[in-house]
Amino acid sequence: MRILIANLVARTARTASRLTKKGGGTTLPGLLAEKIAPNIITSMSTKLQHGIILITGTNGKTTTAKMLAAILEASGLKVIYNSSGSNLSRGIASFLSKNSNLLGTKIKGDIAIFEIDEATMPEITKKVSPKLIVVTNLFRDQLDRYGEIDKTAAIIGSALKASPESTLLLNGDDPLVSNLQRYNQKVRFFGINDQIETKSTGAIDSKNCLQCGTELTYENRYFGHLGIYKCSNCGFKRPKLDYQLSDLRLSVEGSKARFVDSKNNETQLEIQLSGLYNLYNALAASSIASELGIDISIIQKSLKSVSAAFGRMETIKVDNKNISLLLVKNPTGFTQVIETLRYDNKPKHLFLLLNDKFADGTDVSWIWDAELELIKDFASDVVVSGIRAEDMILRLKYAGFSLKDISIEKDMDKALGMALANIREGETLYVLPTYTAMLELRKILYSRGLVKGLVE
């Protein structure tokens, strides 16, 4: 009965939220639903025939989930996943309520993919018993909310302890993540074996061995602290990979690599998304799918057709110009986006949007850890906007970027106009927004009729 009421209330709230255009209606309904029926997540999640896949980690959750959903759907499963990027507990509750019948006795899917914020993991594993848990990577992110990155790892660890039946799929190239293996019996690793190396010399989040404190040595570092590492003192090292990518080919238009699964089946993966980080996402999605027994040819075929997730190099047409949205949330992600834009050495027009609301991280210090120095290699002009636009322009000044090529406009609508005026027909404006800045920009694009909805 409680679930029925909760579902009714959640549905009303969602409709109201959409009608008043106050938002996408992805969190309030769940907040209310959980208040009314605290066990709503537990109760409804047991109705899924093939169980639940949890995806957590700092970067890549949304894209990995989207890729996995495409693969699973191609294999004939009915998939539900929280694609709107609201990955706190109340978002999950909203989402389950939306996908169930009113009584909560049936759910519209065979398998669910949940992307979960790192800090929310213990709360979620208390409520559901997932089939598989994936940890993509751990970078410094929104430290003002979660404290520190070592603590984030410990929080995920405590969540893993609470779900001993789940298979754990870890990014072996990330020492912080691979170290989580001690929390679980059934562990699989994915990673990359390639010659590619990062240009970035910036801040590294985890340089010391988590077992003994000795500095890790890298045979090869792909980006941030991801790579082939080992500890010369205690023997902690990048684990043997069950799923791997090699022969990487990266460009601004897309990426290719060879995928080998745990049974030595191999295939050539091709994705429309650029950036090494997106190959990691494709690898994670392929590894999960393999682990679920899906044929490698289905994986190969369906990944090819996956387009960018919400704001992850999503391209929008404006008259005869293009807007490419590349969400930036943390230093490593920011540096990765910059490294990606630099692949072809062609000059580019940038629009940088820095907000400091809760979902962006209220501390803007992180932009000083991102390697904005690399921007001057390819950016012909930059327009900055957002609540903390002044901080961004200051960062660019100290990155050695010429001030005469930067414009600042706090009004985002006007700023978009300025940025678009800078580019010619057929050209692309690369927009690098923080999370709430992206939502704000989408509202502007929506009001101009350029995007269909505020959420995906």
């Binding site: 003002d144 209220t362 000083w368 609540i387 002044e390 200051l394 000044k397 001030l403």
Partner: protein, 265 residues
């Protein structure tokens, strides 16, 4: 020949949270724009280095693990660092670095990490994390500092420092350590909105990230001036730079601190 200053960056690999690099970049660029070389020497655990050649020493913030990792190595250098600070070495320490330049840091697990007692202060971890934008008044506190040159007070904006704090440690100052400033907005050393940071001779400690120096260029210039004076024994009037971008960011940070809700976990 170009004049040169040397900055020793202690443990950049272990202590580099929250944009500490912004402080180094700011010192470097502001020297460079004045045709002054700033050499950066990174010091790792176990490295040999001679502080006699150093003009500025910097230690950033770190997580508990990072602090524990470097504490022993830092302790080994205690005598040398203390002696140089007595002789006027310029030091900037942020957050975890500030804590370890004090007497000790007591973690939330009641472990005591010994510091090097440059500052007469100690830090005790508390359950509540103090997180948010900070505005600090340094007009009055600057009169109490025993730095070699008085902090110049020639601009309206010089009276404040802006930044972002994020610490669970509460730092209590002893007699010989003067506050860096008085909190106008934010929590400060003890979470009570009282004072912020610590100063002893030419050594400074603070909880301000943000990064600190880019948005407070007068403070960056002050550190450069102190270091230059000590090295070359003459007054060094820094070439005036166009700081309009810095001042705009400083003002924006103040108005944001006034309006943003501070969050706690």
């Amino acid at each position: 020949m170009k004049n040169k200053l040397t900055l020793v960056h202690l443990y950049p690999d272990n202590m580099n949270l929250y944009g500490d690099l912004g402080n180094i970049v700011t010192l470097m660029m502001r020297c460079q724009w004045r045709n002054l070389d700033l050499e950066i020497q990174k010091v790792k655990i176990g490295d040999q280095f001679d502080l006699k050649n150093a003009d500025i020493i910097f230690l950033g913030g770190g997580q508990d693990l990072g602090q524990k990792t470097i504490a022993k190595d830092l302790l080994r250098r205690k005598g040398e660092i203390k002696e140089e600070v007595e002789q006027g070495l310029v030091a900037l320490t942020v957050c975890g670095g500030f804590q370890l330049f004090g007497k000790y840091f007591q973690t939330s697990k009641n472990e005591q990490i010994p510091g090097i007692s440059v500052f007469d202060c100690y830090t005790v971890a508390d359950q509540k994390r103090l997180i948010g934008n900070v505005v600090v008044d340094i007009e009055k506190s600057a009169n109490e500092w025993h730095t070699e040159i008085n902090f110049p007070r020639y601009k309206e904006s010089v009276k404040t420092l802006v930044g972002f704090e994020n610490h669970s440690g509460k730092t209590i100052l002893g007699k010989s350590c003067k506050p860096l400033g008085y909190v106008k907005i934010g929590y400060g050393n003890q979470g009570d909105g009282g004072y912020e940071g610590g100063v002893y001779k030419n050594a400074f400690g603070t909880y301000l990230h943000g990064s600190l120096l880019p948005k407070n260029p007068w403070f960056a210039d002050y550190l450069i001036t102190l270091a230059y004076y000590r090295r070359y024994k003459k007054d060094f009037s820094l070439l005036k730079l166009d700081d309009s971008i810095e001042i705009a960011a400083h003002r924006a940070a103040i108005s944001r601190a006034q309006t943003a809700k501070t969050l706690s976990i």
